[in-house]
Symmetry: C2
């Protein structure tokens, strides 16, 4: 496994593989790898001849009052997992390698970032898009894999790839959860024991929303209210947003059709946690799903 720190080394290493007609699969991450990332790496391992992982805590996607400085960076542990999962090339650039002082170019979108996390994190998706585009230029992957936990991120990246004719296939992978239902996230590391007991309410709120959707409730206000109820009496968990939105545009729905995204962001102690669920009306499920609808408690939302 090659561990490379400069753009030119990474570009050359990938080009050498491509010159041998190998296909490139890419998993871009901010490191602090957990079981969710492991599943992305396994999907990546199957998606191309060469598996490239990037570990880069992107300063451009953090707001000034956010957790950039404290974001975990357990490099040795990350490299161990990468090795275990058969990664071929790890790209770990230092911040000044990726963002030079002269840099002033950015990528952004007009609509998708004006919803959900984009509202409480202005500039966040500009930072995500810009760094992902840079990484795509450096790695030139055939396939890149992103987790469904960051569904707005997945949507903005898919849109960028289409709008800018990038010719990269974007695959998504279901959220991996703890037995409690809590979505795996690097930011779970910020939680105290009490926080860990409160955090599974995000998943419970999604399940409460889904129950109403499955019963045919069409009014988003009722669904949001049922989701909000889950946080009553839990002072450690403070919702930032609870939303029922269009699965393509992320606009607030006035009435539920046959697809919707339930999404929420909740502050639990020092962590801002997010989770979401893509709901599809039963008639559409067989075509849209590849796996059985439920595989028991470990993946209640898959």
């Amino acid at each position: 496994m090659k561990v490379l720190r400069t753009i030119s080394e990474a570009r050359a290493a990938v080009r050498a593989e491509r010159a041998q007609d190998k296909t490139i699969a890419f998993v871009p991450t901010m490191g602090a790898l957990h079981e969710g990332h492991r599943s992305l790496l396994r999907a990546g391992r199957n998606a191309g001849d060469v598996l490239v992982l990037s570990l880069f805590v992107n300063p451009m996607q953090f707001g000034p009052a956010e957790d950039l400085a404290g974001y975990p960076r357990p490099l040795e542990r990350d490299l161990r997992m990468a090795e275990e999962e058969g990664v071929d090339i790890v790209f770990v650039p230092p911040p000044e390698e990726m963002f030079r002082p002269t840099a002033e170019t950015f990528v952004d979108q007009k609509r998708l970032p004006n919803h959900l996390c984009g509202l409480s994190r202005p500039g966040h998706f500009r930072g995500v898009l810009t760094v992902v585009l840079k990484l795509f230029h450096i790695v030139a992957p055939d396939v890149a894999i992103f987790g469904e936990k960051d569904r707005q991120q997945l949507l903005v990246i898919r849109r960028m790839v289409e709008d800018l004719d990038l010719g990269v296939e974007i695959r998504s992978h279901p959220t991996v959860r703890e037995p409690s239902g809590l979505a795996r996230s690097s930011r779970n590391a910020y939680l105290s024991k009490a926080g860990r007991r409160a955090a599974p309410r995000l998943c419970k709120a999604l399940l409460a929303g889904r129950r109403l959707l499955d019963r045919g409730v069409k009014d988003p206000a009722k669904i949001r209210s049922a989701m909000a109820n889950i946080f009553k009496g839990e002072p450690l968990a403070e919702p930032d947003y609870i939303a029922v939105v269009d699965a393509d545009t992320l606009e607030d729905l006035r009435e539920i059709g046959d697809r919707a995204i339930l999404a929420l962001a909740v502050r639990v102690e020092k962590a801002r946690l997010i989770d979401n669920l893509l709901w599809e009306a039963p008639a559409r499920k067989p075509a849209a799903r590849k796996a059985p609808a439920s595989r028991g408690r470990r993946k209640p939302l898959s």
Copy 2:
């Protein structure tokens, strides 16, 4: 010579060449090719094994009150010149192929577009950057060639390539001029005979500015004023801006150092014409120049 209209055809055609280890040179244009483009194509012909030309009047770089509808589109003539100059692949997408109704992603910069033409054409460089990035993704060139007449465009594209790690070499080519000194431009076609007599004043103004610089004048106000004087008594030519700026940042200079750009935009009848000159102090000239300083009247600014 292949003439291709869809993104997927163009991408496939270039990939087939690249699969044979050929290098790709690219000249992106808005068509209405003139002798300036011809010199770019000749440079391109020498720069790679395969020469790709794009002809696309990019709606995104025109303001609402600008000349998008009237911009000349002499396709047959353009294809003839392409053939003459040994172009291998011409990409001529219709507008709806390049900009789908769902598109919302754009590229922009924080500083360079806030000068010169960017001030009178808000959104222009966002349009240029976005379409050039899309074309780079489709064509994946090793080298791309741009004219120095659009010097701000050249600078914003170079900056984008560096900032976004595009790995494309950008080469520039000197402005080609008519015997009168008028820079070749597709928009010269808008001029009446009287307009054609007025338009060489742009070049004369640059030469007047250069004379002062060569004599050691350090005050940009004096240079601007000498350039502005050239337009006195010519009611057909109305300057939009006359500027003396830093050769890298395009910021207004307070005092001339050893490099400066003289730039101007002038409305002559229905045409908004631009021209510029990169001046370097004599001590730096030998290193920076490859050709003799002057080749007579045809290229007084080369």
